[in-house]
Every structure is written in structure tokens, then in C-alpha cells.
């Protein structure tokens, strides 16, 4: 571990680090655009300039390896002046259209100008005109005039997604990012280019112009889109969730996440949610509070066991709940109801093992490993065929289903609901609304559940890594976790003081709710 001095402070950094890595590791501020920890070194923005004792010229920190005893600073006047001018060079042809730019508030140019710039510009010439609103593909829009040609996006498509859609065309200050006709930016990782774009050049069609970022709050979470379990941050406000972006975790997802995963904020939002309890059958529903629905469903369950024995009830779970919920639910079934009729509903067994080599997996559940482990630890061995035979022989009277919160990844929803509805009664625990329930004849309780962002717990990803997450926000105040449902099933009371407050007036901005694709 070489010892070096950064701005007068002695620090020790790992052998082979570059100076910029040393700065980052020790939390010293350094200006940069093109360097990104997940990409190769381009060394083109020329902003991470540092002064190294004994070297006549300033060096770029991203391409210089630390050596024992190096004395480095980025606070001398000559470095400051260089960085200041470096920023000016970046901005002379930039349109400075922050008021109408979607990146404003999280823009590298704004941030670094405030930290390292703050000069009076002297550029009085006409700016270079470039292409605006370039449609790069289904997910991303480009504004070439805002682009600072850091080449991060091009390196991403070359090195990470390996899809090679992007290039920098032309020369000098006429350079522009672009795609070639017939080969749009269309891959399952395209939106990472928007994340790493330090300016407002690349924006997401899904998110742009919907919210000003400084009005959004951010919470850490785990992506529920597949069994990889990418670490994410979620942006939300009182209207709901607006976007999901990756959060670095070297062991799981590096710096990236897939575009499919980014859509997993949509099913969380109010318009897709079951917001209260429902009791009824054949599409004729009586709306009750969630608590009442859970209480009466629990009564039905306990009565059935009392009348027909523990084998007259069954529990079906999907891989979309937390380890803690499985534990509580399985304990209730096996200990309180003394039933071992617990079944695992696999939505897509044929694609479960698929993997694109980067992040996206065919198992579209965040916690398949968790549910399998929980079944094992409770020594539960019931097979799906058993459920089939017991349902058709009418042995099972009440089936409790912890259905998927992300229904889009369950192509067999309708088929399976019909299948479960062979029982006399069905207790359907879910976050979303399910059309198929309107067609069945079983006496049904629908009890609203919380989604991943509304609860705390853990998922076990495909690598066996247990990743915990905390409540980010609340969308449906009435909804329960499975553990809370179990409390009510067993006739207990919840600690109402710990329940989330109902959201205030939820606004819908119709002008943006009904907007088109771009």
C-alpha cells in the first residue's frame, strides 16, 4: 500500500490505484467528467488535472498511477486556474438552457461550475449549432448541443452492453454522438447511458419532463425485477414513484441495471393498486377496509381448520416476498394451523435458468432463493401435483395465495386463478388489481399488500446474497405486509401506532399522465 500525500494529508491507498481513485477513496473533491469507475479511462475531459511534485506539467489523475511518496495537490492556483478554464472550454458551446433542460438539478456542468468554476465567461462568438431532439431509440433522446463529448455513453455500449450502437461522428467541435440508420440504441441496458451522461444530452423518454428532480425524494432499495437483485435508488414524491436508477454494489450489479428493472416502479403506483379490501365472487365485490377483510378471512381460515382439519387449507406463495414474511407466514401455517400444505408457484420454470451474461435473469422474481430456502428450513416438501389433486378432489376448502406484486412477469395469472378457484374459498393477497378474479366462482377475499418499496425486509438473490432494504415511501396506506396479515389472521391486533399515515391529497397531473411517447 503506497503512502502518498493528497493536498498535504498523508493517505495510504491500494497498490495500482490511479490518482483519481485515491482522491475518491479518501473523499477529496476532484473535478471530472469523462472518468467513470465502471468504464475504461478515456482521459479526454482534461479536468481531473493535478500537480505532482517533481513533474513539470500538470497530469490527469485518471491516467496516472500512484507511486510511493507521491505528493499531489489539486488546490494550487495553477490547478484551479486550469480547471476553471477547462470548465469554460466545456461551456463555450453549451447552450446553457438549464431552465428548459431536464438534467437541471442533477447536472455535472451545474454542480462542477458551482464548485470549481464561478468565472465570468468571455466567449462572445456564435456557438456551434448541432442536432436537437435526436431520437436515438425507444428509450433515449439526444440533444447534441448539450453534449460535452465525454464519450461515457459510447464506452458503455462498447464495453458493457457490447452492443456498439453509439459512436462519435465528425471531428473537432463538429463532433456529435449518434447512431447509424437502421441500428438504433435498443438494448436492455440503454438507460444506463442516461445515468452516466453528466449533462442533459441523453435523457430518458420515460422520465424526461415529468418531474423536476429537486422536488423528488430518494430511497435505497433492491430491484424486484429478477433474481439478480440489483441495488437501486428510487425517486418518489407524494404522487408516487417516478424512476429507478442503479446504486453501486460491486458484488451484485456494479454500476448498472437493466431497462426492464427500471420499469418496476410502475406497478407500485396508485392506479395499478388494490387500495382496500374486497370480499365477494364473480365480479360482485363488497368493498371493506383492508383490516376487516383480513380479519374475516382469518376467521374463515381458522374455522375451516377447526371443522375439516389442517389439510383442508393450503398456502400458495410466489418468489416476490421477503424472507421475513415467508418465515412469519410459514410459522403461522405450520405451527398455528398445523398445516404443511404450502406450495411454491413458479411463474416461468422454463426460463428460470436464462441469463444474458450481464444482469438480467429469466427468473423474474427477486426472492426465489429465499422462498426455496424457507420451504427447506420448514421441511416442507409438498409438490405442485399434490395441490392439483387435492384441489380437484375438493379436499382443500380454502386456498391462501400470496400472489405476485409484479403481475407482468406472471403470464399464467389467469390460468392459475381459475385453477385456485376450484377451492370453495380463496384468500387472495396481492398489491395489484387482478381482472381474472372477476371471472371465478370461489368466495374470495382480496387483501391489499405493500410492495417492496413500502416495507422493510430482505431478499436472497440468485448468488445466495441476502440483501436487506428499508421502507422508502408509502403509496397505499391501508396495505399490509404478509407478516401483518398473519397477525390479523390469528386474531391479533396490529400496533396501529406503527402503521403509516395515509397519504394526503394525491394529485394527478393529467397533462403529463396523458402525454405521448416523446
Amino acid at each position: 500500500m503506497p503512502k502518498i500525500k493528497i493536498n498535504g494529508n498523508e493517505v495510504e491507498v491500494p497498490q495500482g490505484s490511479t490518482i483519481i481513485q485515491a482522491f475518491k477513496a479518501t473523499g477529496v473533491e476532484i473535478c471530472h467528467y469523462c472518468w467513470h469507475p465502471g468504464l475504461s479511462v478515456a482521459g479526454v475531459c482534461r479536468l481531473c488535472m493535478v500537480q505532482i511534485e517533481g513533474m513539470p506539467k500538470l497530469q490527469i489523475a485518471c491516467n496516472t498511477e500512484v507511486k510511493e511518496g507521491m505528493v499531489i495537490n489539486n488546490t494550487s492556483d495553477v490547478v484551479k486556474e486550469t480547471v476553471r478554464w477547462g470548465l469554460d472550454f466545456h461551456l463555450i458551446n453549451h447552450p446553457l438552457d438549464c431552465p428548459i433542460c431536464d438534467q437541471a438539478g442533477e447536472c455535472g456542468l451545474q454542480d462542477q461550475y458551482m464548485k470549481f468554476g464561478q468565472y465570468d465567461p468571455e466567449m462572445a462568438e456564435n456557438k456551434v449549432k448541432k442536432h436537437k431532439v435526436v431520437d436515438l431509440g425507444p428509450t433515449v433522446v439526444l440533444d447534441s448541443e448539450r453534449c460535452i463529448l465525454c464519450s461515457r455513453c459510447v464506452r458503455f455500449t462498447d464495453e458493457v452492453s457490447k452492443t456498439n450502437e453509439l459512436g462519435i461522428f465528425n471531428r473537432g467541435d463538429r463532433c456529435e454522438i449518434g447512431t447509424v440508420a437502421g441500428k438504433p440504441l435498443a438494448n436492455n441496458y440503454s438507460l444506463n447511458t442516461v445515468d452516466i451522461c453528466p449533462v442533459g444530452a441523453l435523457t430518458s423518454k420515460d422520465f424526461r419532463f415529468r418531474q423536476r428532480v429537486w422536488y423528488l425524494k430518494e430511497a435505497d432499495s433492491i430491484c424486484p425485477g429478477c433474481s439478480t437483485g440489483c441495488n437501486v435508488k428510487v425517486n418518489y414524491n407524494e404522487e408516487g414513484l417516478w424512476r429507478i436508477r442503479p446504486r453501486e454494489n460491486k458484488e451484485v450489479n456494479g454500476h448498472w441495471m437493466c431497462d426492464v428493472g427500471r420499469d418496476s416502479y410502475k406497478f407500485v403506483n396508485l392506479k395499478n393498486r388494490l387500495v382496500a379490501g374486497k370480499v365477494g365472487q364473480r365480479g360482485s365485490w363488497q368493498e371493506v377496509t383492508a383490516t376487516d377483510a383480513a380479519r374475516s378471512a382469518g376467521l374463515k381460515l381458522r374455522e375451516t381448520v377447526a371443522q375439516h382439519g389442517p389439510d383442508s387449507v393450503a398456502l400458495v406463495v410466489t418468489g416476490q416476498y421477503t424472507n421475513e414474511e415467508y418465515h412469519r407466514l410459514f410459522t403461522f401455517f405450520t405451527v398455528n394451523l398445523e398445516s404443511n400444505n404450502i406450495f411454491h408457484w413458479m411463474n416461468n420454470p422454463e426460463t428460470t435458468k436464462d441469463f444474458d451474461g450481464l444482469l438480467f435473469r429469466g427468473d423474474r422474481n427477486p426472492n426465489t432463493k429465499g422462498v426455496v430456502d424457507a420451504l427447506g428450513s420448514f421441511a416442507l416438501k409438498a409438490k405442485w401435483e399434490d395441490l392439483q389433486s387435492q384441489l380437484s378432489s375438493r379436499k382443500i376448502k380454502v386456498v391462501v395465495v400470496a400472489g405476485p406484486e409484479n403481475q407482468a412477469v406472471f403470464p399464467d395469472m389467469t390460468e392459475k386463478i381459475t385453477f385456485f378457484a376450484q377451492a370453495e374459498s380463496m384468500i387472495w393477497l396481492t398489491a395489484g388489481q387482478s381482472e381474472a378474479l372477476n371471472q371465478t366462482g370461489a368466495e374470495t377475499w382480496q387483501i391489499p399488500l405493500k410492495t417492496y418499496i413500502e416495507k422493510s425486509g430482505s431478499f436472497t438473490n440468485v448468488q445466495g446474497k441476502v440483501q436487506t432494504f428499508k421502507v422508502g415511501t408509502t403509496i397505499v396506506a391501508q396495505a399490509f405486509t404478509l407478516s401483518e396479515v398473519v397477525e390479523l389472521f390469528s386474531g391479533q391486533e396490529l400496533n396501529w401506532n406503527l402503521r403509516p399515515h395515509s397519504l394526503g391529497g394525491v394529485k394527478t397531473n393529467y397533462s403529463i399522465a396523458n402525454r405521448g411517447a416523446l
Binding site: 459510447v154 455500449t157 456498439n164 450502437e165 453509439l166 459512436g167 462519435i168 461522428f169 465528425n170 471531428r171 449518434g178 447512431t179 447509424v180 440508420a181 437502421g182 441500428k183
Partner: protein, 157 residues
């Protein structure tokens, strides 16, 4: 619809294995397209990409980086007049202007009849014979506007 001739396709395939790196075949292949068509139409990029198994964006990067590739049609006679320093001192810019005027064309824009394009270019490495121009592949040196017009007319402009 752009199509590569059989001979050109063979040429590209041969170039692919000629150099240590496959990508080195891009420049010669683009030159070949330009030789066949007078310029490099945008559709050529996808055709080459498929044939060479090299990403489109990469070929396009190369195409747009180098100025000798014509990104739009040029005349049968492409007069490229050097306007860099030694030529500028000896009337290179005036020569370019005179040619544009004489053939009634704008700098870099092909004449309506497709016969000629006059372009201003940077140093062509013939500074002792300034002013000079490159017409298609060859240099014509020690020019005056009158001489240049006459030579181009002789060539059919």
C-alpha cells in the same frame, strides 16, 4: 438501393485478411466504395458493416473522421484547392473563389450538371508550387486562375 459490386465485395474480403487487424480494412473499403460511386452513400455503412462484421457505428465514425471520404456526391471532376498558408500567400484562396465563380458553384457543392465540385482544402504538401490544386487523384501545380480554369475545362468541366 446501395449495392456493392461483386469485385468490390471480393476486394473488401481480401482487405479483411491483409492487415494484422481486421478493422484496418475499413479505410481501404470506404475508398473502394468511393471509387465505385464517387462518394460514400450512408447506406454503404450498413452494407459494409454486415459484410465485414464490424459495428455500423464504428464504420460511420471512421467515415466521418477522415475528410477525403465524400459524404455527399461530388462532381466527375473534384477540384480541391489548397488554401493553407503557403498557398494562401500565393493566391490559393483567390484561385478557389475564381473557380467557384467561373463554374458557378459554391465551395464544396457539386454543380447542377454533376460535372464539377470545387472544394477548399488544407495543405496538400506541394507548397513550393503554390497555388495548386488536386483534381481527383493528381496534383496540378503552379496555377493562376486562368490556367486552372483552362485545365479544368480541358478535362471536361
Amino acid at each position: 438501393m446501395f449495392k456493392l459490386s461483386k469485385e468490390s465485395e471480393d476486394f473488401v474480403k481480401k482487405e479483411l485478411s491483409r492487415y494484422e487487424a481486421k478493422y484496418s480494412a475499413i479505410i481501404p473499403s470506404l475508398f473502394r466504395v468511393q471509387k465505385d460511386h464517387g462518394w460514400v452513400p450512408p447506406e454503404a455503412v450498413s452494407v459494409l458493416a454486415k459484410l465485414m462484421e464490424i459495428p455500423e457505428a464504428h464504420i460511420n465514425e471512421v467515415l466521418y473522421f477522415y475528410t477525403m471520404f465524400n459524404k455527399r456526391p461530388v462532381g466527375k471532376i473534384h477540384a480541391q484547392v489548397c488554401c493553407n498558408i503557403s498557398c494562401a500567400m500565393n493566391g490559393g484562396r483567390e484561385l478557389a473563389d475564381a473557380l467557384c465563380k467561373s463554374f458557378n458553384v459554391q465551395d464544396g457543392v457539386m454543380s447542377a450538371d454533376g460535372k464539377i465540385t470545387v472544394s477548399r482544402v488544407e495543405c496538400l504538401g506541394s507548397c513550393d508550387t503554390a497555388p495548386m490544386m488536386q483534381v481527383n487523384d493528381r496534383y496540378i501545380e503552379n496555377l493562376t486562375p486562368e490556367l486552372a480554369v483552362r485545365k479544368l475545362k480541358e478535362m471536361g468541366a
